[in-house]
């Protein structure tokens, strides 16, 4: 059996060698093919499934393009439709130095230097830098851009940008109402003043359009684009009169220089509506070149600085006392030149013994003792309430950014001597808008009106411009105070503010207050003058404040010498521009 099996085995081996199995080969080939295909499939699966999101996102960034549609910022006009702030297109010049051929570098550098006025060596260095991107010059005017466009320089491009432009001001190298308007920075955000206060309304809302682009970056507009239109900003119509603003800036600059003062401000208001007609500061700045301006110049002294108003506050004190029947214009008091109360002695400005004086005389000669006695006659409670009703307990609420105010403390927190000094405007801090609004109560028949600088937004009146007036004192009290303030101009310290033809028809009050430094009053003063005209039917109320005048002597720094002439010069310009006539019979 085993022998047979071996023989059979031998017989089999003796046969011709068997060919490799066809099926095995096919199987092997199939295996190899499957392996190869598997590798490819695996790779495909990796790229198309695992990496799908990333690659899709990369592709999207290459062929899709989201272009921002910038909203146009609203323009700012004055009350007569004169544009004050306008949008201009300026151009940033950019270069890709690596795209400028060596043979062209000299030509490109020379052309850029000629167009922008930049030194040739700097341009040569820039063009030869081989970097991929660089700014040649930012915010260039259209003329420069047009010149460069015509030259068609290799590697040089223009990026349009929007820039806010402002009109020239009353003083060289300044812009009109710079401190009031503020400016718009390079990011399109309003800074300071009206530009900052009304930023959301002026700026509008940017839109966008997402579309596709070809390999060269050209937009393929027709296609599946998604578009969100921009909402343009609203135009503002201010209450400012550009002509009077210009006159005020000029007169203020001259007055500050004449009196060697540190700075000065002018605020002119419509007495019946609270609309601000002029808002001037000196020194001011060039809003078209804000990048080169010291930051402290941006801060607006009118709304953002506090000052002690001095004797102009006597108008408020005496108005309240008359309203509360504590005094009358003809009532007399004894004024020995000083008064003691609350453990302190307070003096008139010249410490002179004037004997018996009327309250009209108190206002004419600006006697501190008279103001203190009026406060005493009225009572501290009534005096405090009076301060509150004249608007000193809160900010004025004017529509300008960054208004500063120091609200009154609670009445029990005031010592008697503090209230006494407050009666003649020392020891109390106010801003100019608060002060002018309070003083305007007299020419406006006893009504406090809301100060505001913007009349309309997008053609619609603002809430502030529609705010109802508040009756602070009776018209009869206001009329008595009006006569007393007229007497200040005719017989008292306001003589330097007399306007020809209106001598008997204008009211005013001077103010001079010492500046405190580290708790001690110094010889530096705020000199101020407030007045209105014509007194019988006022067209404007104006407050002038000059800070730190440095004239020959202390008396020469007084409000009637420093501030009143500035007031007169601006008032004359208003009388001419507005054709104001004196009231017959006055």
């Amino acid at each position: 059996m085993a022998i047979e099996a071996r023989a059979a085995l031998r017989g089999r081996t003796a046969r011709a060698p068997r060919e490799p199995s066809y099926r095995l080969r096919v199987l092997a080939l199939l295996t190899v093919a499957l392996l190869a295909a598997g590798i490819i499939w695996a790779r495909l699966a990796y790229w198309q499934v695992v990496e799908h999101k990333r690659l899709a996102a990369d592709a999207l960034t290459q062929y899709s393009k989201v272009v921002e549609l910038p909203a146009t910022r609203g323009m700012i006009y004055d009350r007569n439709g004169q544009a004050l702030a306008i949008n201009e297109t300026v151009y940033s010049i950019v270069i890709a130095p690596d795209q400028v051929r060596a043979s062209q570098r000299e030509h490109v550098a020379a052309a850029l230097s000629a167009a922008t006025g930049k030194p040739l060596p700097a341009m040569q260095a820039l063009v030869s830098s081989r970097s991929q991107f660089a700014y040649v010059a930012r915010r260039q005017p259209k003329e420069v851009a047009d010149r460069l466009k015509a030259l068609n320089l290799a590697g040089v491009g223009l990026e349009p940008e929007s820039q806010r432009s402002y009109l020239p001001g009353g003083d060289p190298n300044t812009t009109l109402a710079a401190n009031l308007l503020g400016f718009v920075n390079n990011d399109g955000a309003g800074q300071y003043g009206v530009e900052a206060f009304y930023q959301p309304l002026l700026a509008g809302r940017n839109g966008s359009v997402s579309s596709y682009q070809d390999l060269t970056g050209h937009e393929i507009i027709v296609g599946g684009e998604t578009r969100h239109d921009a909402v343009n900003g609203a135009d503002l119509q201010l209450t400012i009169d550009a002509d009077i603003q210009h006159s005020a800036e000029q007169a203020l600059a001259a007055g500050v220089a004449l009196n060697k003062a540190e700075s000065g401000s002018v605020l002119v208001m419509d007495p019946h509506t609270g609309a601000i007609i002029a808002w001037a500061d000196y020194p001011t700045y060039n809003a078209n070149n804000f990048g080169q301006t010291p930051v402290d110049r941006f801060i607006d002294p009118i709304a953002s600085h506090l000052y002690e108003p001095g004797s102009t506050m006597k108008v408020v004190t005496l108005s309240g006392a008359i309203e509360n029947h504590a005094i009358t214009p003809t009532m007399t008091i004894q004024d020995p030149g000083h008064v003691s109360l609350g453990g302190v002695t307070l003096y008139d400005w010249d410490r002179a013994n004037r004997g018996t004086v009327t309250y009209t005389k108190v206002l004419e000669s600006s006697l501190n003792v008279g103001a203190v006695k009026a406060m005493q006659l009225e009572g501290t409670d009534a005096f405090y309430r009076n301060l509150v009703s004249f608007g000193f307990a809160r900010p004025s609420g004017i529509d300008v950014a960054a208004e500063s105010a120091e609200p009154l403390r609670a009445q029990p927190d005031y010592r008697l001597s503090e209230l006494a000094t407050t009666s003649y405007g020392q020891g109390v801090d106010v801003n100019m808008v608060q002060m002018l609004a309070a003083l305007n109560v007299v020419p406006n028949a006893g009504k406090w009106v809301q100060p505001h600088v913007v009349e309309r937004v997008g053609g619609r009146p603002t809430q502030l411009s529609l705010a109802p007036p508040q009756q602070v004192i009776s018209p009869a009290t206001a009329a008595q105070m009006n006569e007393m303030m007229k007497s200040v101009v005719q017989n008292g310290s306001g003589h330097e503010a007399r306007i020809s033809g209106f001598e008997k028809d204008e009211g005013g009050k001077t103010g001079t207050s010492q500046m405190p430094v580290n708790g001690q009053y110094t010889q530096d003063v705020w000199s101020s003058y407030v007045g209105y005209l014509p007194a019988s039917n006022p067209r404007f109320t104006m407050l002038v404040v000059v800070r730190k005048p440095h004239n020959a002597n202390w008396i020469a720094n007084d409000g009637y010498i420093v501030a009143a002439p500035i007031w007169r010069q601006i008032a004359q310009a208003i009388v001419l521009d507005w054709h104001i006539s004196p009231t017959p019979g006055q």
Partner: protein, 192 residues
């Protein structure tokens, strides 16, 4: 003529339901799960049953498509559709380039307009007007001088007082004669 209404036509009633109308008398019931047969299957079945075939639309031989003819036709249709799409896409792309160019032109014009607005406002600005006035040797006028009026005490409603008549005698006589004749005042006398 089609004798069997079940051939080549949609069933007139629900399958499995009893026939109505002209088939009521035959009592034919369609199977509930009948398989809808194609035209070719029906034709073969009719041939096996020796039933008459329905009439055919006989096309001339030249107009008949072969097996490849239909494929060619399909390919041609696809090619034409593709070409049409490409032509449209190219046209759209070209139009989008044109729109882009026009948009760039529009933004240039808007920039020009903004620039002109600023120039216009600058030319009307108080500073510019003052500068031009100075160049033209113009100055601001002196402030008005107002004169306070004094009440003259004239009663305009009262009759005008008669002044002394110093006209020549012959004129007086002539006027008196005229008044006698015409019965009226002369103009000169009325004006006084």
């Amino acid at each position: 003529m089609v004798s069997n209404p079940n051939i080549g036509l949609k069933p007139a009633r629900q399958r499995g339901s009893r026939a109505r109308g002209p088939l009521v008398g035959f009592g034919i019931r369609l199977p509930a799960r009948a398989v809808l047969r194609t035209q070719g299957v029906r034709r073969r079945r009719r041939a096996q049953l020796r039933l008459p075939q329905p009439a055919e639309l006989a096309l001339p031989a030249g107009m008949r498509f072969g097996a490849f003819g239909r494929v060619y036709l399909l390919i041609a249709g696809v090619v034409i559709a593709t070409l049409l799409y490409l032509v449209q896409a190219a046209g759209a792309t070209q139009a989008s380039y044109e729109i882009g160019r026009l948009q760039a032109q529009q933004s240039d014009l808007v920039a020009e307009q903004d620039h002109l607005k600023y120039e216009s406002a600058s030319l009307k600005s108080p500073a510019q007007i003052e500068s031009e006035a100075a160049q033209a040797n113009l100055t601001r006028p002196q402030p008005y001088r107002y004169v306070q009026y004094a009440d003259a005490g004239v009663n305009l409603d009262a009759p005008a007082p008669l002044g002394p008549d110093d006209s020549p005698l012959w004129q007086k006589a002539l006027a008196a004669l005229g008044r006698t004749v015409t019965g009226s005042q002369d103009a000169l006398a009325a004006g006084r």
